[in-house]
């Protein structure tokens, strides 16, 4: 076990170790203690934030939702022709956010990208928590939410089934599948860490909590073997689910007769958009975790921001490609309603949103993320990530309420002005953060075993005067 190199290291080698977590190993016990300490160190600021967020969730989300249910959709801003408003914007947005989690975790795991190791958990949590917000958003939007179970296929005496022609039914099935599988996929790699936490917890309800959730994991070879194959299966299986989910969400729009929606490119366009916002969200979470939690500067380093920054840049380019592809094909199609709509996007009363979206989704990432120093700086990438998320939210706002303004019946065109959607949307954001805060106190946010495994596999070897990073295959 190569804890420390006995030979005096050169300045360059020391620099490499500082930079790369995988080359900067710590003893297992110490590392476990660091993670446990991060979990248990709670400042008063934390509780203030929790209290504030809880208040926002309580009033923004649940109280407003109660009003919405009691009064009807009239308290929201939806109207004819914008039958869908911010609720659906939020739904698509949160599903988009949830994508990056799986993308980072599963795809990077499958492709064995080593830099993923310290932040797979944070990303996976995002999938689950994001999907919860997406679910809330879509249920809020229903006129009679107390009948939401009618969307599920369940056996009943009248033989009433959901309509399998409807994209909303596809949506429900896809999102449910995604939520279940991503939760499983979050849980499996968590088991060894839960076991670690169990072993390092003295008593109290936490002990019970960890004992129950760790499923008696002891770390025997057989247990690891099963765990690894289960994780492998889920990692491979969840990738097509991820792609299908957002494709299906895009079909809500693409199969409709609306001008501007009826676009064949919407599937991949939505996926790349989802990744765009999701990566932005991941980088924001990491920046916050690194900045606020104890011992996290060791685990999350500029190299991670740098790597994710590169991905963001690539995704931004992909998004730009699909955006203009969609735009040009629709424009070239020459349908008069679509042309009116495209024109309305940029020159209507909210045309500035359209330009702002292009600015933050394309111009900003392209100009900032090229620079290695900038993309390694947490606060810079945090701002870029935030802007991208705002930009992507606006993109969905343009696709949904703004595009709904223009239809084939010009006598009915009406602007959409959001109402109670705003507190409800803020409520979902607060709940999302609150769930993260809760998770940071309950489960190890860093997959310790994965980091340790990586550190074991990595070493710095000297071939002549050259220091080379080597990785051995452990799995």
């Amino acid at each position: 076990m190569a804890f420390k190199n006995h030979i005096e290291e050169t300045h360059g080698e020391q620099h490499l170790r500082q930079k790369h977590l995988m080359l900067d190993p710590k003893p297992r016990g110490e590392m476990n203690a660091m993670v446990m300490e991060a979990m248990h160190t709670t400042t008063w600021k934390f509780w203030v934030v929790v209290a504030l967020l809880s208040a926002v969730v309580l009033f923004g989300l649940f109280w407003s939702w109660g009003i919405l249910i009691a009064e009807g959709m009239g308290v929201a801003g939806v109207n004819r022709p914008s039958y869908w408003g911010i609720f659906l914007v939020n739904t698509v947005f949160w599903i988009g956010i949830s994508h990056a989690g799986t993308f980072i975790s599963a795809i990077l795991r499958v492709f064995k990208a080593e830099f993923r190791r310290p932040f797979t958990r944070a990303a996976e949590l995002m999938t689950t928590f994001g999907l919860i917000q997406a679910g809330f958003s879509i249920f809020m939007h229903m006129g009679r939410v107390w009948r939401m179970y009618w969307l599920m296929p369940y056996p009943n005496q009248r033989l009433l089934w959901p309509n399998f022609h409807s994209p909303l039914t596809w949506d429900l099935l896809a999102i449910t599948t995604y939520l279940l599988s991503s939760t499983m996929y979050l849980y499996l790699p968590l088991i060894p860490d839960l076991a670690m936490a169990r072993d390092r917890t003295k008593g109290g309800w936490q002990k019970i909590f960890y004992r129950v959730l760790a499923l008696g994991f002891r770390g025997t070879e057989g247990e690891w073997k099963h765990l690894r194959s289960a994780m492998n299966i889920f990692a491979w299986a969840i990738i097509p689910i991820m792609f299908s989910v957002h494709t299906i969400v895009s079909w809500d729009f693409a199969v409709a007769t609306r001008p501007g929606w009826n676009s064949t490119i919407f599937g991949p366009y939505f996926i790349i958009g989802a990744l765009h916002s999701g990566m932005g969200a991941v980088i924001m979470v990491l920046a916050v975790v690194r900045g606020t939690m104890k011992n996290m500067k060791y685990f999350i380093r500029p190299e991670h921001f740098e790597a994710i920054g590169k991905l963001m840049l690539i995704i931004s380019m992909g998004w730009a490609y699909f955006f203009f592809n969609d735009f040009i094909v629709q424009w070239y199609g020459g349908d008069k309603w679509t042309q009116t709509l495209l024109h309305y996007h940029e020159s209507g009363p909210l045309g500035y949103l359209w330009f702002f979206m292009l600015f933050v989704n394309i111009v900003i990432p392209w100009s900032v993320l090229w620079n290695k120093r900038w993309r390694s700086t947490p606060w810079i990438v945090f701002i870029v990530g935030l802007l991208i998320n705002v930009g992507m939210w606006i993109e969905r706002y343009i696709i949904i309420p703004i595009s709904l303004t223009i239809n084939r019946s010009p006598f009915t065109w009406k602007l959409y002005q959001p109402g109670i959607e705003i507190p409800l949307g803020i409520g979902t954001v607060a709940l999302f953060i609150l769930l993260y805060l809760a998770a940071s106190k309950l489960i190890p946010l860093i997959p310790v075993w994965e980091v340790q495994e990586g550190q074991m596999a990595h070493s710095l070897k000297k071939y002549g005067r050259e220091s080379v990073v080597t990785v051995s295959e452990l799995e």
Binding site: T340, Y344, E346, S347, G348, G351, P410, F411, T412, W413
Partner: protein, 725 residues
């Protein structure tokens, strides 16, 4: 041929007519004393789960359309047109459809009230015995000359009853009035008919068979005279072999103008001059000698004054000259001018020139009403001014008001509200807590029209001589009483002369007495030997009408008399002509019906409010945007309302709908919109009608904004915000 129908036969008849969709009634005369009973004791003809249909008459305006009301377990559910009634032949307008929201309006006057001229509807309920005593005392103790009756526009049984009453005791005859009659300039039309057609009365224009129609301000598709009948005529006119062509002359495009093939925006008040110029050109085009009526016209001057190109005049004249069956209709805002009577005569002279008097597609006189030969028309505003003067001088001691809301329906400058203060006793019989009722000493609410008996003479709209019949379709919902019954009871209590004038037990007996002369006329929609059967049929068919057309051909031709239309003079100062018009949806009394408030105006699609129409060019000049609140200042008043940039109005004209601006009249009407009557000065034309469309006003931007509720999209219809110029 005496035929008595038993109750059983009667039910059979009722069933048969239900199957054929004809009118039927469940109420024989014996069931006229309507009692409110729980519905566990249903009338025997009402079957659970089956609807019962009653024929009656629409009271939303004075046209007298026949209705069939579907009732279900004692509730009125739906209003449909009476297919047999010759006025509307089964059709209704929006106002007729919404009449049930008047019946079931949450803001009706529920009990007789000692209102005491409070600011809001009083709560001081009375019982009907005391109420009748109040009326009785008022009638008995007032000097007959001091009794004033103010009734609604419709020539109905109550008008006849009150006429008999007043004639019997030597009181002044009842005055009928309605805002619609002012906006139609009915008095002018009747007077013009007298001067030009040889007989006083409302002309009947056979739109259905006209090949070309020139309409000078007549908004016959909306509210003018008998809109449903004229819409039917319009429909036939379009459907006939050669599609009829309609040209509308008016400064502001009305709904009728919107349906016209050509809309000629003449300067307000110059319609008659245009008609005269056209007359001259038509004669020239026909290569006839120009009749004396038109010789004095200077076409160039008319073109200049009316703002219609000379070329256009020539084109229109050729059109008229070449048409086989040409028709010219005077009406509405064209007659509500200082020179309105001249205009009406000039337009009718065009008909004379087209030689269409008494011809298909031409001009007739409406048939004589079945029970009354004299033409009674509603009072003109000049006559109302005389009446108000009598109130002010204290000549009228007791004022009884029914079916009209003069505080709302008269120009403010006439000062009716102030004059009310000079009348010692004001009794209102209003069904609703309207502005006038609130300012009365007592409100003795009448039943709603759908709860009452009655008949109404049809003044115009059909070629047959028609008496529309009314009967209760539901039992009275509130503690109301028929005004006719109240008057009869009050007279009986008063005794003496009063009692002898009206020796009738109740309203229905009076109505039957009035129907008796009709039994003799066998050439009608039904025949019966005696009055009980006759009145049963009368209710069942929803009225009585002759089988044959009873139109009269005009007897006179004034083409050889010189006609002249003097230049219009305008009341007030300002840059803009003000053209008020009756809201086609609300009419004068629709504002308290919520569903009607939400029916969009046909041309602007505005709901629930008032607006002022301004040409977009003008608005641009003044920096006015859609929804900006504009102050409109006339020499007598000021109102503020939102601007609607209306593409089809003259740049020098603004238009405001009448129908909103109530201060009372229930929750859906009160405090909503403005009343253009607040702006009108008192200038009358030669027939005594007010020159309502001959005002000059000033507009001022207030800087406030209120977006109107519109059905249409400003983005989609006007390109607002689409980034296109």
């Amino acid at each position: 041929m005496k035929k008595k129908i038993s109750r059983r036969d009667f039910l059979k008849l009722a069933g048969a007519s239900a199957a054929t969709g004809a009118a039927l009634t469940g109420c024989g005369p014996s069931s006229r004393f309507v009692v409110r009973e729980p519905y566990t004791q249903m009338p025997e003809y009402a079957l659970i789960g089956e609807s019962t249909f009653y024929a009656t008459t629409c009271r939303e305006c004075a046209a007298g359309c026949g209705l069939i009301v579907r009732t279900f377990q004692g509730r009125a559910i739906k209003v449909e047109g009476n297919k047999n009634n010759p006025v509307n032949l089964g059709k209704t307008c929006a106002r007729g459809q919404a009449t049930l929201q008047g019946l079931y309006n949450p803001d009706r006057v529920t009990d007789p009230l000692n209102q005491g001229r409070r600011k809001t509807l009083g709560t001081d309920g009375m019982n009907w015995d005391d109420a009748i005593k109040v009326v009785s005392d008022a009638l008995a103790n007032t000097d007959p000359a001091g009794i004033g009756f103010l009734l609604g526009m419709a020539p109905d049984h109550l008008f006849d009853l009150v006429s008999d009453l007043t004639a019997g005791i030597g009181a002044p005859a009842p005055v009928r009035y309605g805002a619609l009659s002012a906006f139609e300039a009915r008095a002018t039309l009747v007077k013009a008919a007298e001067n030009v057609l040889g007989q006083s009365g409302l002309p009947f224009f056979d739109l259905a068979n006209a090949e070309l129609t020139f309409s000078f301000g007549a908004n016959f598709l909306e509210t003018w005279l008998s809109p449903v009948a004229y819409t039917r005529g319009f429909s036939k006119m379009r459907k006939q072999g050669k599609r009829g062509y309609l040209v509308q002359f008016e400064p502001r495009m009305s709904q009728t103008g919107a349906k016209a093939d050509e809309w000629i925006p003449v300067r307000p008040g110059t319609e008659g001059m245009v008609a005269l110029a056209l007359g001259k050109l038509i004669a020239e085009s026909k290569k006839q000698t120009v009749p004396r009526a038109f010789v004095n016209v200077d076409v160039k001057a008319v073109a200049k004054e009316s703002d219609v190109d000379e070329e256009k005049l020539h084109y229109l004249a050729d059109l008229f000259a070449d048409a086989d069956r040409a028709l010219a209709i005077p009406g509405g805002a064209a007659l509500g001018q200082s020179n309105g009577l001249g205009t009406a005569e000039a337009v009718l002279a065009l008909d004379a020139l087209a030689n269409n008097f008494g011809q298909p597609g031409g001009v007739f006189l409406s048939p004589a009403a079945p029970t009354e030969d004299n033409v009674h028309r509603p009072a003109s505003l000049q006559e109302m001014a005389v009446f108000i003067n009598k109130m002010n001088t204290g000549e009228i001691k007791t004022l009884l008001i029914h079916g009209v809301n003069p505080v709302f329906e008269l120009p403010k400058s006439l000062g009716f509200e102030a004059a009310l203060k000079n009348v010692p006793l004001v009794i209102s019989f209003s069904t609703f807590p309207d502005e006038t009722a609130i300012l009365s000493d007592y409100i003795f609410p009448d039943h709603h029209g759908l709860e009452s008996w009655g008949y109404q003479r049809v003044a115009t709209g059909t070629s047959q001589s028609t008496l529309s019949g009314a009967q209760p379709v539901v039992s009275p919902f509130y503690n109301t009483q028929s005004t006719a019954d109240v008057l009869l009871a009050a007279s009986a209590i008063a005794g003496g002369k009063l009692a002898s004038v009206l020796p009738f037990k109740d309203e229905v007996e009076y109505i039957q007495a009035q129907l008796i002369p009709l039994i003799e006329n066998k050439d009608a929609n039904f025949n019966a030997g005696e009055i009980n059967s006759f009145s049963a049929y009368f209710q069942q068919f929803g009225g009585w009408w002759t089988n044959e057309a009873a139109l009269l051909a005009p007897t006179q031709n004034t083409l050889n008399e010189t006609l002249s239309v003097e230049s219009p003079t305008y009341e007030g100062e300002g840059d803009f002509f003000l053209v008020p018009f009756v809201s086609p949806v609300l009419g004068e009394a629709g504002a308290n019906k919520p569903s009607l408030q939400e029916v969009p105006d046909p041309t602007t699609t505005v709901m629930w409010n008032s607006w002022v129409e301004i040409n977009p060019e003008t608005a641009h000049e003044f920096g006015i945007k859609s929804g900006d609140i504009i102050k409109i200042v006339s020499n007598v008043g000021v109102i503020e309302t939102s601007a609607y940039l209306y593409p089809a109005i003259r740049p020098d004209t603004i238009a405001i709908p009448f129908g909103q601006g109530h201060k009372a009249y229930g929750r859906y009407a009160a405090g909503r919109g403005v009343n253009p009557f607040d702006l009108l000065g008192l200038k009358f034309n030669a027939a005594g009608d007010i020159a309502f469309a001959g005002m000059k006003v000033q507009i001022i931007k207030t800087g406030k904004k209120f977006e109107l509720a519109r059905m249409e999209s400003e983005i989609g219809v006007y390109g607002e915000g689409l980034g296109e110029e």
